[in-house]
């Protein structure tokens, strides 16, 4: 597999995720986009690991997977906690961070 292609694909998916994060108001989709960016990074790592014949990249992916899983679990728990209080999930309505 040509490494440039793999990295280019990863870059493309990452950019899509980044755009999605800023575009979507639905917190669930927002999370999906974040995951998408994680996955893009993983793809680049796996590609380079194969390219150089080293296993370190895949080890890193393993660690990233674990972190991503934890992040999703915590994030969704927070979402549900917020929903319990507000009955509303539009992120634009949760604007208590305003200075």
């Amino acid at each position: 597999m040509p490494i440039e292609f793999t990295l280019g694909l990863a870059a493309a998916i990452f950019s899509v995720g980044a755009a999605g994060v800023t575009f979507r108001r639905d917190p669930l989709v927002l999370f999906m986009c974040v995951e998408m960016m994680f996955n893009a990074a993983n793809l680049a790592l796996v590609g380079l690991s194969g390219y150089f014949g080293l296993l370190d990249g895949q080890t890193m992916v393993f660690l990233v997977l674990a972190v991503a899983a934890a992040e999703v679990a915590v994030g969704l728990a927070i979402l549900i906690a917020i929903f319990r209080v507000r009955q509303d999930v539009d992120v634009d309505h949760v604007s208590e961070l305003r200075g």
Partner: protein, 175 residues
């Protein structure tokens, strides 16, 4: 072009397409399904890139655990469609996001393009198929020796996350 390569390019296209669909579909449930498709495509890509363990983990962790979480969240939140914004506002936000995404992508491709020759020069082994076969044992050995500390830190992180979720999910005692 061998079977692997055919698979790779096909699923690469599918992965990108599903990623875009996730961002642009309006229904949360549809987005979730498309996201599963995206994750599975990536699993195939990992397999093609001689990383079978990562591919399997991708299916188990993302395709299984994470997706189940998303589906549950969708069920509980019961908010498949959000109220619409004023079209001008929506267009502005879409434009800004698009610009940002395109800018990022352009920048990344520019960097990639600039460094491609260096990357080609650095190529030590042509993508060895050997890496794929039976690398589970090697990966495991690596995790438990060279990467033991990060591994343990990740374990602690998972425990902390589990405890934190329990605390948050529990209804307040005074309620």
């Amino acid at each position: 072009m061998g079977l692997t390569q055919a698979l790779f390019f096909t699923f690469a296209a599918l992965a990108l397409a599903s990623a875009l669909s996730v961002v642009f579909t309006r229904h949360t449930v549809w987005a979730a399904y498309l996201f599963v498709a995206h994750l599975l495509c990536l699993a195939v890509l990992y397999a093609c890139l001689s990383a079978p363990l990562v591919a399997v983990l991708q299916v188990m962790v993302y395709g299984g655990a994470v997706m189940v979480l998303f589906i549950f969240a969708i069920m509980i939140l019961d908010a498949s469609v959000l109220g619409r914004l004023d079209w001008r506002q929506e267009a502005l936000q879409a434009g800004l996001s698009l610009a940002l995404g395109l800018g990022l992508a352009g920048l990344l491709f520019y960097v990639l393009d600039r460094h491609a020759p260096a990357l080609a020069l650095a190529n030590p082994v042509s993508a060895s198929a050997d890496l794929g076969r039976g690398n589970v044992a090697a990966l495991g050995r690596m995790l438990y020796t060279q990467y033991l500390l990060p591994f343990e830190v990740i374990s602690v992180l998972l425990v902390v996350a589990a405890v934190g979720i329990l605390v948050m999910a529990k209804r307040k005692l005074e309620d």
